[in-house]
Amino acid sequence: MLFRDAFKTSTRSLTQSKMRSALTMLGIVIGISSVIILMSIGQSAQDLILNQVQSVGSNLVIVIPGAPSNGKFSPPASEQGIIITTLKQRDIDSLEREPSIDAAAAVVNGQAEVVYGNNNKTITYQGVSASMFPVRKLTIGVGSAFTKADVDSANHVVVIGPELAKTLFGSALNPINKTIRLKNLSFRVVGILEKGGTGMFGVDQGNVVIVPITVAQKQLLGISHFSAVIVQANSQYDLNFVESRMKFVLRQNHGITDPNKDDFNIMTQADILSILGNITSILTIFLAAIASISLVVGGIGIMNIMLVSVTERTREIGLRKAVGATDGDILQQFLIESVLLTLLGGTAGIAFGAIIVGIAYLVISTFFSSLGWGFAFPLSAVLLGLGVSGVAGIVFGIYPARKAGKKNPVDALRYE
């Protein structure tokens, strides 16, 4: 039997019961679209996270307090409720003396209510060194950043995020030189960040309040240590060398002789990228694996319906065999039917998945525009979807098709 004839025969019997074919396909449609949606959204999330890390700059090295976990990723000590207070100003001074280091900027974080007139908002404030602005490439839209002199003399000046500026001052009023209150202290607004988005340590840059670190430490938080230090390496030096110099300097400052007892953790951007890349990939694979369970269920649905169809069409099989169809011809016909069902289901699933991913993109980018969510529809997901649905058709179709092919024509013709 020619493949073309077999194909025609199969499509004919599928279109004869359109409703059943469509319902049979539904399981595969749902399975494939779930896999596609999760893979695409996982890809977007991964891109987003990696972009944010990358936007920090490639020659940055981050020091966070707390012992490293020997290559294994675990939350920083501060996230576990352990406060390590050893990272201090003299570490910054020592690091900045290293020729391989261009700048070292410290940061502390806190939360408080910010008030202007009748407007107020609870925000995360950051105390930073003046050098943080160039190191983090934080660009100022209106006004200017505060200076090292401001930091040294603990002046009450702030730089605020663009969305917070709108909340506090509306769009008509110029916020520059206005006075806002933070924890009952008055601050003069000197600059507004150019853009929002999620910044380092998950802080919403659109609504951030940035104050001199000296003010934040002594007057807002009452501490003398840092939450993190960001070091900008001299680009002429190898990052591994810079890292080793940093370890040396910090161990000396903290009086550590045993490298296993470090009370700080140094991460380069490459470290963070690979850790985050691994985590998001594992999550995506994990979610796709869960989604593929529905694919198996869909496949079993197809097998079930094909078995019913084989029984229902016993006389047809007997007739076809009587007029010359071989076992292989019958097997081929039923196998083409099941593969057609799964491939059509797979294609519909990909299309449906694409629509959902598109809608998700529109919704997220409209309502969470500061997030910078990108559209992703990886080709690998499409190929995987088609491949998996084709294979499912063969895997779940071969048993019913073999059963059909092996029917004895005499018994099949007698079947009632």
């Binding site: 039997m1 020619l2 004839d5 065999k321 009587a322 007029v323 169809a325 076992d327 013709l413």
Partner: protein, 235 residues
């Protein structure tokens, strides 16, 4: 053309052997019109299934066009069924959702006749049974007599040497039955061998030879000298 010698068929039902054929011997020449008659359970259907290559005997020999069934694989049997045999069943066995055209096409799908020649063959076969005006009608919408004529067209389309008919008038009224038998008779006159299984004497009377089967053995094998003159009172 057909030579059976001491043909036996044994079924096992729950380990109890049942002798459906106990040694049947006869031969059929090309161009004959043979009726196989017998009461139900006599083994006539089993015999037809073996003769038409749908089943294999459990003993004895069967040669079709000089070739023994024992030397042929299942695949070869399927090829012969397609090329040299045509089938007409009591219950028509049409695919009711397909048109007359598509039903008649089925044997060609399994043949090596090029698709360019198929349309002409299908149309000729349908014309031979006088259903040109129903060619694009769904088979399920036809009357019983028309259905059986479509089945004959399907049996004809590959231009086989032998047509096997298993109680072809069993589900038809006498008028339609007569029509079907006349078509089979005319096919026989054009040189085709026709082997008919029936338990109706009138239907069997269209043949020029009647083999009676009883309890799995040939009871009688007689040529009919004076052919039945059908006057419309079949049954």
């Amino acid at each position: 053309m057909i030579e059976v010698n001491n043909l036996k068929k044994e079924y096992f039902e729950e380990e109890t052997p049942t002798q459906a054929l106990r040694g049947v011997t006869f031969s059929v020449e090309k161009g004959e019109f043979v009726s196989i008659m017998g009461p139900s359970g006599s083994g006539k259907s089993t015999l037809l299934h073996i003769l038409s290559f749908l089943d294999r005997p459990s003993g004895g020999s069967y040669k079709f066009q000089g070739k023994s069934i024992d030397d042929m694989t299942d695949h070869e049997l399927a090829r012969v069924r397609n090329k040299d045999m045509g089938f007409v069943f009591q219950s028509f066995n049409l695919l009711s959702r397909l048109t007359v055209y598509s039903n008649v096409e089925i044997p060609l799908l399994y043949s090596d006749i090029p698709s360019s020649k198929r349309k002409g063959l299908i149309e000729n076969a349908i014309k031979a049974v006088g259903l040109e005006d129903k060619i694009h009608t769904e088979a399920g919408r036809l009357s019983g007599g028309q259905k059986q004529r479509v089945a004959i067209a399907r049996a004809l389309v590959t231009d086989p040497n032998v047509i096997f008919a298993d109680e072809p008038t069993g589900n038809l009224d006498s008028q339609s039955g007569l029509q079907v038998m006349e078509i089979l008779e005319s096919l026989n006159k054009k040189g085709r061998t026709v082997i008919l299984v029936t338990h109706e004497t009138e239907t069997a009377g269209f043949a020029n030879r009647i083999i009676k089967i009883k309890d799995g053995a040939v009871e009688s094998d007689k040529a009919i000298v004076a052919r039945h003159h059908h006057t419309g009172n079949l049954k």
